[in-house]
Each structure stands twice: as structure tokens, then as C-alpha cells.
């Protein structure tokens, strides 16, 4: 009962909700880059929403299972090629033992989460299965996946029955108003006062391009220089997921899952929780524009997203065959997506889009 890696793809790691509670000792939490996608992929295959997934970056893995399993891919515009049959993302796929799985890459999005029914049988390290590449801990042997890796599977709570009736509509990853620039909401501070009025204006009125020097630690952006009053250095303080540091060259760096826990650059703002998954899906070359938001507004959005997430799980449950239990209602923060969902049920045209092309 295992997953066999034929070709891992360039940056494929095991991630779950993250290693929480050790930041005071200097451990980055790691964890999902796109929390919404990972939870959804898990729920589609009958797992708990915080279970470990195989996370890949742009190029997915090639693999097979030595037993029949359900898998699902969510995140960017990916697809599953199972022995020559192509299935879309956002849908459970019932894969017979031995069938070669490849991931197809589309035009938008960069991170993909592949969930396997039952979950990956990987030991917890300090409360998490997430890979921390920098420290070489967690995940599969503390490293990115390699060809020939064999990863054991846990046995699914729902058995190995066919779940391919389960699908969700795809999430919208680009703005319908302006597909070229993604608006990302941020909360100012905690060092906004280190920047000149002109610098702050530049930051909010310009657009910034995601550069190729972007990874799980942080996304380096490039654009007009954000002017500071004095220098950009501060007495090191704490960093969160989404903290926007301004480097010595006046360029923003958005800190991501594998960030350092503390840092010495001034932070002009932080990306709000519900926008982090969408921001994480931006490819190098794409542009962002930062938009101010208050902490109260951001927290209201989290509560709404949470409510929506629970609703989605309920809808899935309703459409389930009798006796089928939908897991994933553990109610973690900020899970839902901000667009792409109807509040009650999904329309016929969504069904077509989300369904497989059998």
C-alpha cells in the first residue's frame, strides 16, 4: 500500500497545516502554500482537511500506486493524466493500481496539492508532517521527493470505494476585472512609520512584478523603490506568513510558509489571510497591486470564509451516497476561497466544467 515516485518534479515536498508552536525556538511553521487548495484536495478524497498532501511547484510528479486509490489535485490550473485519460483538477479520480499518473500544467497558478485517499503514512515531527527543507526535518526524510521514493499510505476511513462523483467548481485565480494585475489586500504595519509619505504612496499606487527569485521562503517583487525615512534595518522582530519586508534596495519581499521566524528589515504591511492562497498562486512575471484593509475587515473576511467552507463541506455531504461521512469540518481559520463559489448548490454549467471528460 504505497505511492511510488517515478519522477518527482523539481520542487515537490510533503506539506500539511504546518509545524505550529515552535516559532519561539526559531522553527518556521512551513505547511501548505495554498491552504484552500490543500484542504479541498483532502476533502475530495475523504481525508481530514489538514492531512499531508504532495505539494508541487509548476511541474507535478509522475507516480503510480500499488493499490487502487482516490486522488485529487487542487491549486493551479492542473490536470491529472491517469494512463492517458485526462481528468481536470478539483475532482476525485479513482485510480487503479499500477496506472501511471502524470500532472498536466495549465496556464494559471503555480502550486498544486495532490491528496491521496487515506493520507500519507509519514511520521510526525514536532506535531507535523510538513517538510522543512532548511532544517532537513519532517515530510519524507526531511527532503524534497526523489525518483524511486516509496511512500506508504494509511488506510482510508471511507475504504477505497470510488469517489469520482466528488468534484468542486474551479476557483477563480485571476481577477475578472483586470486579469493582468492581482489585487492583494494588506494590513499596514508594524513599521509603516519608517517609510516616507512618498514611499507609502509608491507602495500602494504602483504595481509590482513577482520575480523568479521566489520560493516557499518568500516572493521577491520588483517595481518602483519604496522610500524609507532613514534605513530599512530594524532591531529584529517577529515575522508572519505574508509579512512584506522592504529590502535594502527598496523592493518588497513577501514572506511565505518557509520564512524565517524573525527578521531585521522593516515591514510596511502584511498580506491578509484570505488573500495568501491566491497570492501564493502567482507566477513569476505576474503583477500585484497592494490594497489597504483594516484588521477588523480582514478578520470579518476570515469568519465569512470559514462559514463558506463549512457550507461547501455540507453540500458535498448532501450529494454523497447514503452513509458516506464527509470529513474536514475541523473548522480551521480562513479556509474558504473568496471567489468562485455559489452560496447554495452549484449550477448545471459548473457541473460540466467540474466533471470529468469520460
Amino acid at each position: 500500500m504505497a505511492m511510488h515516485v517515478i519522477n518527482p518534479g523539481p520542487r515537490t515536498t510533503i506539506q500539511d497545516k504546518g509545524r505550529l508552536g515552535y516559532q519561539n525556538s526559531g522553527f518556521a511553521p512551513s505547511g501548505f502554500m495554498d491552504r484552500v487548495a490543500s484542504r479541498m484536495a483532502n476533502v475530495l478524497v475523504g481525508n481530514h482537511d489538514s492531512d499531508a498532501v504532495v505539494e508541487f511547484c509548476l511541474i507535478g510528479p509522475e507516480l503510480y500506486f500499488d493499490e487502487t486509490v482516490n486522488i485529487a489535485v487542487c491549486g493551479g490550473d492542473f490536470g491529472i493524466d491517469a494512463g492517458g485519460k485526462i481528468y481536470p483538477a478539483n475532482k476525485a479520480v479513482h485510480v487503479p493500481a499500477g496506472v501511471r499518473i502524470k500532472i498536466t500544467t495549465g496556464k494559471v497558478g503555480i502550486y498544486g496539492s495532490l491528496a491521496v485517499g487515506g493520507g500519507l503514512d509519514i511520521p510526525m515531527v514536532m506535531g507535523s508532517r510538513s517538510t522543512n527543507l532548511r532544517c532537513g526535518i519532517g515530510g519524507f526524510k526531511g527532503r524534497a521527493l526523489m525518483a524511486g521514493d516509496v511512500i506508504a499510505l494509511r488506510s482510508p476511513e471511507n475504504g477505497r470505494k470510488d469517489l469520482s462523483w466528488r468534484w468542486v467548481p474551479p476557483r477563480r485565480l485571476v481577477s475578472p476585472d483586470d486579469p493582468d494585475i492581482t489585487r492583494v489586500r494588506v494590513i499596514a504595519g508594524p513599521q509603516e512609520d519608517m517609510f516616507t509619505a512618498e514611499g507609502i504612496k509608491t507602495f500602494y499606487e504602483s504595481s509590482y512584478v513577482i520575480t523568479a527569485h521566489s520560493d516557499r521562503m518568500g516572493y521577491r517583487l520588483s517595481g518602483p523603490q519604496v522610500e524609507a525615512k532613514g534605513g530599512y534595518d530594524i532591531l529584529s522582530d517577529g515575522i508572519v506568513n505574508g509579512s512584506i519586508q522592504i529590502s535594502g534596495e527598496g523592493q518588497p519581499i513577501v514572506m511565505m510558509a518557509d520564512r524565517q521566524t524573525t527578521g531585521g528589515y522593516a515591514k510596511i504591511a502584511s498580506v491578509i489571510n484570505v488573500d495568501i492562497p491566491l497570492f501564493a498562486q502567482l507566477r513569476p512575471g505576474q503583477k500585484v497591486k497592494f490594497v489597504r484593509c483594516t484588521v477588523q475587515e480582514a478578520q470579518e473576511l476570515i469568519r465569512k470564509a470559514d462559514k463558506k467552507w463549512k457550507e461547501h463541506c455540507r453540500i458535498l455531504e448532501k450529494s454523497a451516497p447514503a452513509g458516506f461521512k464527509v470529513l474536514g469540518l475541523s473548522g480551521r481559520d480562513g479556509g474558504g476561497s473568496r471567489t468562485g463559489w455559489k452560496s447554495r448548490g452549484w449550477k448545471r454549467k459548473d457541473r460540466k466544467r467540474g466533471g470529468s471528460n469520460r
Partner: protein
Amino acid sequence: MEYRILPVGDSALTIIFGTEIDPETSRIVRTARKYLAKKNIKGVNEYVQTYATLMVHYRPAMIGYDELEARIRTELAQMDLGSGQMKKKTIVIPVCYGGEFGPDLENVCEHAGLTGEEVIRRHSSVDYLIYMLGFMPGFVYLGGMDRSISTPRLKNPRERLEKGSVGIAGDQTGIYPLVSPGGWQIIGRTPLELYDQNREKPILYEAGEFIRFVPITEKEFHAIRKQVEDGTYEYQWIREG
């Protein structure tokens, strides 16, 4: 005690107690961390201590910013700073200085105009306050090094420093708990395992505690290393006050 509270995104806030590196500010931050942690505030995940600030990570689905800020202000108003006069707790870190383990000891001697023995004596005669951890797991920002042994970083950083490497960079000294690239002047190595995922506390020490380096010979290094690997080594703590 004066402080400011500011949001850091929607899932953390920072309590700012000062803007300088100094032992008294650090003591206040630590006292507040310990005090608040004991209050088990609903929705708070963890506290991260830095030089002069305390970061509070929380779950906004369980507690909103306004409520948490008010709660923290109420709690801090009742905090007795005197009771935070915690006992001084020092961990003993044995270090084999020079030779293969400390290839840059000579650089430090040359820069300081001191003999190797004297550099070692000055480096190991201070109890260093751990201001904070960060940069990598278990990496300590220490205060209190004798400035007479300050030495600038290497011009060309090494690609690989072994775990346990003890070094100097400018006025700072510290230890690398894991293998890492780095530009510090490496003067010795400890045989201790500073990070162990299977230990109850994966990282031995925390901010507010002290570190004392004790010189050992190469023979002692290997003997302690063996005990550490066998799981028989007993970590030495000095408690005072």
C-alpha cells in the same frame, strides 16, 4: 512599563516594549511572555520573544484583534514585574576551541592581538544572555561578548559550517545548531546536540536564559560526543538566585 500594541497582519500582533538591545528590556519581554502564556488566553497559539518585542500569534476565528488587545492590556496592567525576577538559568556548553574545530581562532587572535589562550579565556569567562532565537532553529542572539575579541565576518563565507560550530561575527558570538553556510569566524565546536526532534524540548534553551562556554580538550570532545550519541550525556544547568 510602557508599551505599544500593533497588528501584524490579521493573525498576529506585536507588543513593543522598547527599541534598544538591553538586558532590562529583554527581562520585561520575557516576564510578559511567561506571564501571558500562563493565562491561557483563548485563541492564542504561541508567543515569540525578540529583542524588544513580543509577538502573539492567534486564531482570529476564535478571538478578534480588538478583544485580544484589550485582554492583553488588562493582563499586563496586573503583571508584577518584580515577580519576573526569575532565577538565572545558565546552560553549560562545552567547546573544543581551535585546531580542526576552530579554524578561524588564529584570525581572531591576529585581529585582537591576543594569544589563543587569552581569546579562549575571554570568550569562556562570560555568561551570555540569550536575547532571542531566530534565523534558524536554535540559533541564538547573545549579548555580553568581550569587545576585545570582536572580529569582522569572513570575506568569503563558507559553504558549509558543521553543526555545533561556535563563532564570532563583529561584536556577536553564537552557535550553529545545524549544518549551514555562514560567514562567521569559527573558533570552536561543541559536541552537544543543540537540536533533537525527539527531545521534549527540541531546542535546549530559550530567550532569557544564559549560555556559558566551557573549554574542553579534543579527547573530552569525543568522549562527550559519544555520551550524547548514546543518550547518556546529562546536560548541565546552573541555577542561581
